[in-house]
Amino acid sequence: MERRNVIKSLGIGLLGLGTLPSWANNWNSDSFENLTFANSEVFIKIVDCLIPETNTPGAKSIGAHLYIEKVIKDCYSEEIQNEVKQTLEILNKEAVAKHQKSFEKLDNLQAVDILKNSTSNKKTVEFLKNLTIRSYTSSEYYLTNHKNYQMAPAYFHGCVEI
């Protein structure tokens, strides 16, 4: 009965689209005193190119970039933080070499192309992708519109037709 599994299931409810989580509204640059990442704009481009805005909200409008920056800084080791930093630098270098602009200035297709084919650490790119997916699939938009998420369903049926 792990909570995380439960979050991945069920419920119904319709709330606002693509709003930022409340903690992200409170977010301000003060909480980044020891900012590990020189260029956090890169995170916006990464999440935006991975899960773009279409006729539905993408990762950027649910605030995945804020989550990623925060979780890497607060929850992961210096080693992983450094790997992320290096990866961001490499992505940027590759962007400049190929398109003569920094990574965050690329359009989404160019950015995805760099991510997919980057010579940087594949594991780190995969890690950033997983964090983006995690943030997106935990968002209010996704859970309430696509997962029938309900905090307190007040019932359980052990065997229903799909």
Partner: protein, 571 residues
């Protein structure tokens, strides 16, 4: 001045004192105050009134780290963060490692909750009765100390606490796991039912698989509404505290009830340092408390004292209660207090998949799972190890998150609705043998910030535990295979240490003979009858059930005996 002192002492004098407000202390407080005794509950932790649950209504996306623990928290708390329930939503109810140090002579993961309600806010709410075979086990298998009571002595008290706490379950009619006073059971999933049926067929009824019995109000009765509790809304976020009182906690149930009698007072931030023994009266007369914040010392007095600090703390308090009559700790004439610490072995588990029922899924949330009562050595010895194990069993089906692809393709994949196979799993709960070599004792020099000696913990697993783990792996693999499960994997949790079961017991055990035990059949210290110990410290053996229901029943039983003796003038 003299009058002032007498007055002040009078204000600090009660009929009964209960040390600790957790699962067992809450029950002592309820029974004693309900029967008319002026009762003081002393709780070392902060005040948490029912409803003071800061995270309880938070949505998953409202957690800054989506539930993940920060590195700072992890590094500062290598032990507490090992508990599966320790998360971004519940960390405020756990004791942090640095604040309450102890010495591990052998690795011991001591998980604690210091606040009103203790660990009753955090527990997983599994509640099964012991059977007569469990109480008779130590005598049958030649353990050092045998139970002074049997199933018949405790059965009415199981009923008493079940009715009030609210236990959901099915009447399964099993000798090895007696039925209780149940509220409506939760439902098994398709694959859990399939497993139950397969096991019945293959083992001729010798290996029943049932829905778990748990402390949730599936069908609240008037007695629960009177406590101010309501039906469980099936959120499974219980470790945050439940705003509806849907599961049993001291905070939602026993403590408000005790308060309603008008006979209970509670003092938080009150670290009980020791129990005061009066050499002339030849009994305990009160307790010495250190205020957790001001560090000031203050004494409280009563004719009855219940020690419910949870196993290790109860051992510490009693060992630290030294007098010229009891130089080695209150009641400790035989020198065995602190020894025979035992636990449940949770070191292994098994998982698998089931490829059937692919057109079915579950719907809603169930704060419970299925349960496999112990089937080894129940009525007679059958294996090369002593005693046996119980196991959880749950089968569920999740939507798969398809994270393939990039850009719009990835986005579309994330919106796909697809289910994987059913996933099945069991955790292991093995009985361990209480041994004199597993102990807690007080350090001779190191103290905590309240001047209480730090505890040294020395608890090890043994060969019997290893053999039992091996048997679990073999038997559960066989059972999973017979049920048609695939991808079966057993696991060993190498980082698991005793203590992480959070079922630590013993040290102040019940027994018939004062030479080998500390407590009599009513949980009174053999040598100081007005002191009662009814938390895990009193347990003579541990069997395989989650222990708290038995602590509750023993507490209610002992408290009612205490009231009778008090009225007769015997205490």
């Amino acid at each position: 001045m003299a009058n002032f002192n007498i007055d002040s002492k009078k204000k600090r004098t009660f009929d009964a004192i209960v040390i600790g407000s957790g699962i067992s202390g809450g029950w002592a407080a309820k029974e004693l105050s309900e029967k008319g005794l002026k009762t003081l509950v002393l709780e070392r932790g902060k005040e948490v009134n029912h409803g003071d649950y800061p995270t309880t209504m938070m949505q998953p996306w409202e957690f800054e780290h989506l539930g993940q623990i920060t590195k700072e928290m992890k590094d500062a708390n290598p032990i507490a963060t090992k508990c599966y329930a320790f998360g971004e939503d519940s960390s405020h109810f756990f004791v942090k490692d640095a604040e309450h140090p102890y010495i591990q002579e052998k690795p011991f993961d001591w998980i604690r909750g210091y606040q009103t309600g203790g660990k009753s806010l955090l527990w997983a709410r599994g509640t099964q009765r012991w059977s007569k075979y469990d109480f008779e086990g130590p005598a049958r298998d030649g353990f050092d100390v045998h139970w002074p009571i049997g199933y018949d002595d405790i059965a009415p008290w199981y009923s008493h606490v079940e009715i009030f706490a609210g236990i959901s379950g099915n009447k399964d009619g099993l000798e090895s796991l007696p039925d209780g006073e149940f509220l409506k059971p939760h439902e098994q999933t398709c694959v859990e039912k399939h497993f139950t049926d397969q096991m019945r067929k293959h083992y001729n009824g010798a290996r029943p698989v049932i829905i778990g019995r748990c402390a949730h109000l599936t069908d609240p009765q008037p007695i629960h509404y009177q406590q101010g509790r309501a039906k469980c809304q099936q959120r499974n976020l219980c470790q945050r505290g439940c705003p509806y009182g849907g599961y049993f906690s001291s905070n939602a149930s026993t403590l408000p009830w005790a308060k309603m009698t008008g006979n209970m007072s509670m003092r938080n931030n009150s670290v009980v340092h020791s129990i005061i023994y009066d050499e002339k009266k030849q009994k305990a007369v009160g307790v010495k408390v250190i205020d957790a914040i001001s560090k000031q010392e203050i004494e409280y007095f009563a004719r009855i004292i219940f020690v419910n600090g949870s196993t290790v703390n109860t051992n510490i308090i009693l060992l630290n209660s030294k007098s010229s009559r009891f130089p080695n700790g209150l009641g400790n004439d035989n020198g065995l207090m602190g020894k025979y610490i035992h636990f449940h072995n949770f070191e292994t588990g098994i998982s698998g998949e089931y490829e059937g029922f692919l057109d079915k899924k579950t719907d809603g949330i169930r704060p419970n799972g299925s349960y496999i009562p112990r089937f080894r050595n129940v009525k007679k010895q059958e294996t090369d190890f002593l005693r046996g194990y119980a196991s959880g069993f749950s089968a569920s089906r999740m939507e798969i998150t398809n994270g393939e692809g990039w850009g719009e393709e990835l986005k579309n994949n994330l919106f796909e609705k697809k289910y994987g196979n059913w996933r099945v799993g069991s955790h292991f709960m093995g009985e361990t043998i209480p041994k004199i070599s597993n102990y807690v004792k007080l350090d001779e020099t190191l103290k905590d910030q309240w001047g209480v000696p730090q505890v040294r913990i020395h608890v090890e697993m043994d060969d019997n535990d290893a053999k039992m783990v091996k048997d679990f792996k073999e038997q559960l693999t066989e059972m999973y295979t017979l049920a048609g499960f695939t991808n079966i994997k057993t696991r060993s949790r190498n980082s698991w240490n005793p203590g992480l079961d959070i079922h630590e017991m013993g040290g102040v055990i019940m027994g018939k003979d004062p030479k080998t035990s500390q407590l009599n059949e009513w949980n009174q210290l053999h040598h100081c009858k007005n002191v009662f110990v009814t938390d895990g410290a009193c347990m003579t053996s541990n069997s395989t059930q989650n222990p708290s229901l038995t602590y509750m029943a023993l507490t209610a039983r002992a408290a009612n005996h205490a009231v009778d003796e008090f009225r007769k003038g015997n205490l």
